[in-house]
């Protein structure tokens, strides 16, 4: 591992499948020690990108380096420092938790004298030690995710990739998994996450990259993304549905107006004195019952940037 190198460096990365360009000149850098989120609607090229990072798929052009190692030429070194928690967990459900860990330890060449101690410690960490002899097939979704995480950490990787780490798990298990992920950063590990939950991205990631149609749309911290792309969101409830929508849309800085019954959602960009003008228009038609001004959430930013819902 090269200490000064970025954790992941993608340089002008392209991947074609026949005539389809799944990844389109993607350049991105993930720093060592950060939790980095990769967001994009289904079919945006996230999985293809990750497959190229882990060496499962070869780029059509461009280059990927992990901790300074060229993924194509030094695949083995990359695999040694990469821990992966795939979405489907890739656990042998017919085998016990311990056997799964034991098999992984052998595949990654963990010294025999350390194997037992490491497996025990990690199963303990994810609170599955008491179920070590149970078949994985009998585990809940959350338990499987925890076990997959423990397995990915077994060979002490420097970069951990988690694909939808909390997909299909309950709220309690989600919180536990978040805690494990945040603890990884404390240990100096780099974590790459793909997720469809923006709440998750906001809670965990220091930086986010949004990709769509294989292209990088934006990359920044969640807060900065909100500032740059978000503006403000004004939500109002009036006595009756508002007719003067065209008048509101015509106000300077208003980028979007949505009405649902008596509820109105207005998105504005960069204009601070717009609220009194909106109130003025609405009160001409009837009583204003409620008003709230807030920052946009990541869902709204994502929608604005990609034109698609994240959970397409």
């Amino acid at each position: 591992m090269k200490a000064a190198a970025p954790a992941i460096e993608m340089i002008d990365l392209c991947k074609n499948f026949g005539s389809l360009r799944a990844v389109d000149h993607l350049s991105l850098t993930v720093r060592q020690g950060e939790i980095f989120g990769l967001l994009g609607p289904n079919g945006s090229g996230k999985t293809t990108t990750i497959n190229m990072v882990s060496g499962l798929s070869a780029p059509t052009s461009g280059q990927v380096r992990v901790m300074g190692y060229d993924v194509q030429r030094q695949a083995r070194q990359v695999r040694q420092i990469l821990g992966t928690v795939p979405q489907e967990t890739a656990l042998y459900e017919e085998l016990t938790a311990w056997t799964n860990m034991d098999f992984h330890a052998d595949l990654f060449g963990i010294p025999r004298r350390e194997k037992r101690e490491r497996i025990t410690r990690l199963l303990e960490l994810v609170q599955l030690l008491d179920r070590k002899d149970s078949r994985v097939g009998t585990f809940s979704g959350g338990m499987k995710r925890r076990l997959a995480l423990a397995r990915a950490l077994l060979h002490d990787p420097q970069l951990i990739y988690l694909d939808e780490p909390t997909l299909g798990v309950d709220v309690q298990a989600r919180r536990a998994i978040w805690d494990y992920i945040l603890a990884l950063r404390e240990q100096g590990k780099t974590v790459l996450i793909t997720t469809n939950y923006l709440e998750e991205a906001q809670a965990l990631c220091e930086r986010l990259a949004i990709i769509d149609h294989g292209k990088l749309i934006a990359v920044d911290t969640p807060d900065h993304l909100k500032q740059i792309y978000g503006g403000s969101v004004i939500e109002l409830d009036s006595e009756r549905p508002i007719n003067a929508l065209a008048e509101i849309r015509a106000l300077p800085g208003v980028t979007d107006v949505e009405q649902e019954g008596t509820h109105l959602k207005i998105t504005s960009q960069g204009v601070s004195n717009i609220v009194p003008q909106i109130i003025n228009i609405i009160t001409q038609e009837g009583e204003l019952r409620d008003i709230a001004v807030r920052e946009p959430n990541l869902d709204e930013i994502f929608l604005r940037l990609t034109g698609a819902e994240l959970r397409d």
């Binding site: 497959n51 499962l56 040694q80 890739a90 056997t99 052998d106 595949l107 060449g109």
Partner: protein, 371 residues
């Protein structure tokens, strides 16, 4: 990280152990796969036993010494399963379709023979199956010739003088069952290794293997060894039935073991390749049967392929089953069915084994979970 050769051995051992454990958890499937070769052995043996001899009723209206001698000639013709019955019983058996023919030895058989008069032996044939019908049509005149050759040697002046190429005769069943042993190894090997490889894709566990730093060939070898261990169990069962129940003892025990290992290696590698390519157990199982059975019939399972047409011989020699059958027949019966010699046949099989292992490793290397 442990040192390279030890690490490689560890990966091979781990993959083998894991596959055996996985197979043992799917008990029903593993038991069925292990018993498939035995099933084929029993099935084809029954086919041979049932199909080789025509059930025939003999109505002995005369029980004199010549009539008895004629009956004996029929019984040694290797074509009939005889039973002595009365005329009404024979008629009833014929009506119910349980016999192919009724041979009636007339009441004046002995008297007419003694007086050197023509005798008419009645042969009533249920000719719904040409194969059996022709057997009867060939075997009855043969029995008459044999009867005369024994009863009146001075009358039959043309006699064959047989010089055997081999010291012992090899019966149809011992020959065929050895071929069945080979097809059992082929089918068991392809089925067990193919499904083990495909299971990794079906259960999406292949990522765990592909994302590890272990070499692809060490994984392939490990997985093949897992299938090999289970296939060995299947082989032991089939061999036990072959030796202890059917009574076919090998002449060269060492060859049986060595050629079995070689044959299983080839088809386990082929199964691993198939499973990696198809990524689904159902088509693997279908292909295992779909490929093995026709190749079995093509590769000289029922008799030396050199006795057939040239195109068939050329076709058979493309596939390794042919060479495997040649070698196992030598191990069991000490004869060689082609002119390549043991070394030549072994060399061809070794080349197949090596090529398939390399191919399986390449295919696995090129495989990705995404595309």
């Amino acid at each position: 990280m442990v040192r390279e050769p030890i690490y490689t051995l560890r990966v091979i051992w781990a993959c083998m152990k894991k596959d055996i454990k996985s197979a043992l958890t799917e008990r029903a499937f593993t038991i069925i796969s292990t018993l498939v070769p035995l099933n084929i052995l029993i099935l084809l043996s029954l086919f041979v036993i049932g199909g080789g001899y025509a059930p025939t009723a003999v109505v002995m209206e005369d029980t004199g010494p010549y009539a008895q001698q004629f009956y004996h000639a029929m019984s040694t013709a290797h074509s009939f399963v005889l039973q002595k019955v009365s005329a009404p019983q024979a008629s009833s058996l014929m009506q119910s379709g349980r016999i192919v023919a009724v041979v009636t030895i007339p009441a004046d058989f002995d008297a007419r023979i003694r007086q050197n008069q023509p005798v008419q032996v009645g042969v009533e044939i249920n000719n719904l199956n040409t194969d059996f019908t022709n057997d009867i049509r060939r075997a009855v005149p043969l029995s008459i010739t044999s009867f005369y050759a024994k009863a009146f040697p001075h009358l039959v002046t043309v006699v064959p003088v047989e010089h055997d190429f081999y010291q012992q005769d090899t019966d149809y069943i011992p020959y065929l069952t050895v071929s069945i042993l080979v097809i059992g190894m082929v089918l068991g090997g392809v089925l067990l290794s193919g499904t083990a490889a495909a299971r990794e894709w079906e259960h999406e566990t292949m990522k765990e293997l592909l994302l590890s730093p272990a070499s692809r060939w060490s994984m392939v070898v490990g997985k093949m060894l897992g299938a090999f261990v289970i296939s060995c169990a299947s082989l032991v069962i089939v061999l036990a039935v072959l030796i202890f129940l059917i009574g076919v003892w090998p002449v060269h025990w060492g060859e049986v073991i060595a050629f079995s290992v070689l044959t299983m290696t080839i088809f386990i590698a082929f199964g691993t390749l198939l499973g990696t390519l198809l990524k689904n157990r159902q088509p693997v199982a279908a292909l295992a049967f779909g490929v093995s059975i026709p190749l079995f019939f093509l590769s000289g399972a029922f008799g030396p392929i050199s006795f057939t047409t040239v195109p068939l011989q050329v076709l058979a020699q493309i596939f390794p089953i042919y060479y495997a059958i040649v070698l196992q027949q030598h191990a069991f019966h000490n004869f060689t069915l082609n002119t390549y010699g043991l070394g030549g046949n072994i060399l061809v099989l070794c080349a197949y084994a090596l090529a398939l292992i390399i191919l399986a490793a390449i295919v696995l290397r090129r495989s990705t979970t995404a595309h």
